[in-house]
């Protein structure tokens, strides 16, 4: 609970993941045989070096956010989105800007001053700006600069029935689980990779997979749970509290049937609840990893998350615990030879 709170409250918009990386490096140094970073900023933690098989587990550190692209003469900051931001959730939210975490807010014209037709249209990012409470451009320039990243400001806390609410659950929940995994020993070579730039196109994972070149890769994610009012059961994708979600495919990746069966069997053996993710769109790091080198067998396990990419994402702590158990079980089973990695593709007779 404490680690995921710290991780979700840290800032790490795609391209500037240092806040999250520093936290993880500090947390995991005592458990690592080797710690490395690469030129993009991926963080690698290695254990069991030289053992077989070589397994990579990846979770992306970056979160969606905004970038300052201009400063108006009145000191308001013009912004563009970084990653898949639903513009409709930006209005009336506090944010922090730049490396000094300058607080600001995203305002909107008062309802009193709007014409009725204005309210029917969502506010587009071009109409929005960050207000840091300065009088003019000169004052603003003392505090922020063009190119600064801005992230939602939110505190993480418990809500409802053993759930957690906060920003950046996608994918600090994956980072938290991976960090817990690293704290134990397995009879295999484990490379935990905390990747960068997933939200803008799986860019960290593609170089990480090349660098690690594992026999098998597991990606830990936070995925959409849309089990909410106004949505039919068939549109749920995943259900909050329904257990870890195993991906069959997304827009970037199709899991090998053998791997899906292995995950399902592992969950069943451990008596863990699980669900199959019912959406074929949205990408994950597995898309990049599975295509690295000559192709790397990969899998994705996700924690269901309502209101993904908003500052008020909700996860179930039961799902979190069960995803951690399943991921651990998967590593144990692989170490025991439970997933044959030789001649992965079935031979054509």
């Amino acid at each position: 609970m404490l680690l995921i709170k710290k991780l979700t409250e840290a800032y790490g918009v795609s391209g500037d993941e240092s806040g999250v990386r520093n936290l993880l490096r500090e947390e995991l140094t005592p458990y690592a045989e080797k710690i490395e970073t690469d030129s993009l900023g991926n963080l690698y933690i290695k254990k069991g070096i030289g053992k077989k098989p070589r397994v990579m587990v990846a979770a992306h550190m970056d979160e969606i956010g905004l970038m300052v692209v201009g400063i108006e003469s009145n000191g308001l900051l013009q912004v563009k989105t970084v990653g898949g931001v639903d513009e409709r959730v930006l209005v009336s939210k506090p944010v922090v800007v730049g490396e000094n975490h300058v607080p600001g807010v995203i305002g909107a014209k008062a309802i009193h001053l709007q014409k009725p037709h204005e309210r029917k249209k969502p506010l587009e990012v071009e109409q929005l700006y960050i207000d840091i409470g300065v009088k003019n451009k000169e004052e603003a320039e003392k505090m922020v600069k063009i190119g600064d990243y801005a992230a939602f400001l939110a505190t993480t806390h418990e809500i409802g029935d053993n759930c957690l609410i906060g920003k950046a659950m996608d994918n600090r929940v994956g980072c938290a689980i991976l960090a817990e995994l690293v704290k134990e020993d397995y009879d295999l070579e484990l490379t935990a990779v905390f990747t960068v730039q997933e939200e803008i196109g799986l860019r960290g994972a593609s170089v990480a997979a090349y660098n690690v070149h594992p026999d098998f890769a597991l990606v830990l994610e936070g995925t959409t749970a849309s089990d909410v009012a106004g949505v039919e059961d068939t549109g749920y994708v995943t259900k909050l509290g329904g257990g870890p979600a195993i991906s069959i495919m997304d827009s970037s990746f199709i899991a090998p049937q053998k791997v899906i069966n292995f995950l399902v069997e592992t969950a069943k053996k451990l008596n863990l609840p699980f669900q199959l993710r019912r959406l074929t769109t949205a990408g994950t790091d597995a898309g990049a990893i599975s295509q690295a080198h000559g192709g790397i067998p990969s899998a994705v396990i996700s924690v269901p998350c309502r209101y993904l990419h908003s500052p008020t994402s909700i996860i179930s702590l039961d799902d979190y615990e069960n995803t951690l158990r399943l991921a651990k079980g998967v590593l144990m089973a692989i170490a025991e030879g439970g997933l044959s990695l030789e001649g992965f593709a079935e031979k054509i007779k």
Partner: protein, 350 residues
């Protein structure tokens, strides 16, 4: 208590229109420290009286509303999701993804959700969310929700005010707890001033749903002068400059038919005399503030209006400059100190 800290505490507190009691208690307990007595009327207005030193003591009413806009549960849906309506004027676009505190059988945390983007088509995404499409998610099983929540329960947006650059602050319910903070600043200033008038500093209820608290309290007090303290639109892009006041440039002093000309001119004279920055604000008809009700109470009450410039009104990031609150407090204190019975008599002579 420091004005900044007071404002931070009362803006975080709940007090929807008609449900002001939690914030009312905090306000009464703090303001009375700088006054002689505190009471509440039948509607819930908090009346703080600071007595004057005169034999003939004119009555000056200060009115700042303490109620805030919010939400009310209209239906419990399958799965325990709550449909809601607004209490006061809310732009539905500003509440998606906001945390709320719902006042059921106990306080419950929730979030305002809507249909997720991946299930909507491009046409739907080009339409703003309507209130009917949204819901409150308490992350509780349906049975638990039905046990703890009833239709009619109210919810507020959860937001702790944040200090921004310099003396700026942003948060919810600055409209009009900023006005309440002005009354604190004024009462503090009055500690060291000599004033003949009795000062009734009133935190009013139900302004957002139709200036109702101001209606009953001005009838009850029968003041010689009534001054409403509210917020006004701060300068921002997309809004004509003449419709706004600038943040950090002092209170807006309103002129127009809702305002007694001699109250406005006296406020301006005082501002000039004590080097208090101010801005003129125009209102061509009844204002959307407590001043609207005060002026037409009983046989008519000379009314004034001072306003704190504020951007993003009725969102949860209402932004203002704390310096404007302090300057407005000073302005009102010096104004009160200048009030005597001759001035009051003049107000009836046209």
């Amino acid at each position: 208590m420091e004005v900044d800290r007071f404002l931070t505490e009362i803006t975080a507190a709940p007090g929807l229109s008609g449900y002001e009691q939690p914030v009312a208690k905090m306000i009464g307990a703090t303001l009375v420290k700088y006054a002689n007595e505190v009471r509440q009327d039948h509607l819930g207005n908090v009346v703080v009286l600071k007595k004057g030193k005169g034999e003939l003591r004119p009555r000056v009413l200060l009115a700042a509303h303490m109620d805030e806009i919010g939400l009310m549960v209209t239906k419990i849906e399958k799965g325990g999701f709550l449909r809601f309506t607004s209490v006061g004027g809310i732009d539905p676009r500003t509440i998606v993804g906001q945390e709320v505190v719902l006042f059921g059988k106990k306080e419950l945390c929730g979030v305002i959700g809507a249909k997720p983007p991946h299930l909507t088509d491009a046409k739907e995404r080009s339409q703003a969310f309507t209130m009917e499409e949204m819901f409150i998610d308490l992350a509780l099983p349906e049975a638990k929700v039905r046990e703890l929540v009833s239709v009619g329960d109210v919810a507020m947006i959860k937001r702790k005010a944040i200090k921004l650059n310099g003396t700026s602050m942003a948060g919810k319910a600055m409209d009009d707890r900023a006005g309440v903070a002005v009354m604190l600043a004024c009462l503090q200033e009055l500690q060291r001033l000599h004033h003949l008038a009795d000062v009734y500093a009133v935190a009013t209820v139900q302004e957002e749903v139709g200036v109702r608290g101001a209606t009953t309290i001005s009838y009850g007090i029968v003041p010689d002068i009534g001054i409403a303290i509210d917020v006004t639109h701060g300068a921002m892009p997309g809004v004509p400059e003449y419709d706004t006041c600038k943040l950090g440039k002092g209170p807006g002093i309103t002129v127009g038919p809702n305002i007694h000309p001699k109250v406005a001119s006296e406020l301006i004279r005082i501002a000039k005399e004590y080097n208090i920055p101010y801005q003129l604000e125009t209102a061509t008809g009844p204002t959307g503030t407590d001043a609207r009700a005060i002026q037409v109470t009983r046989g008519g009450i000379p009314t004034g209006l001072v306003s704190i410039p504020l951007r993003y009104m009725h969102t949860s990031v209402e932004l203002l400059d704390l310096e404007d609150i302090k300057q407005t407090g000073r302005l009102l204190a010096y104004f009160i100190a200048s009030v005597n019975s001759e001035y009051v008599e003049e107000l009836a002579c046209f």
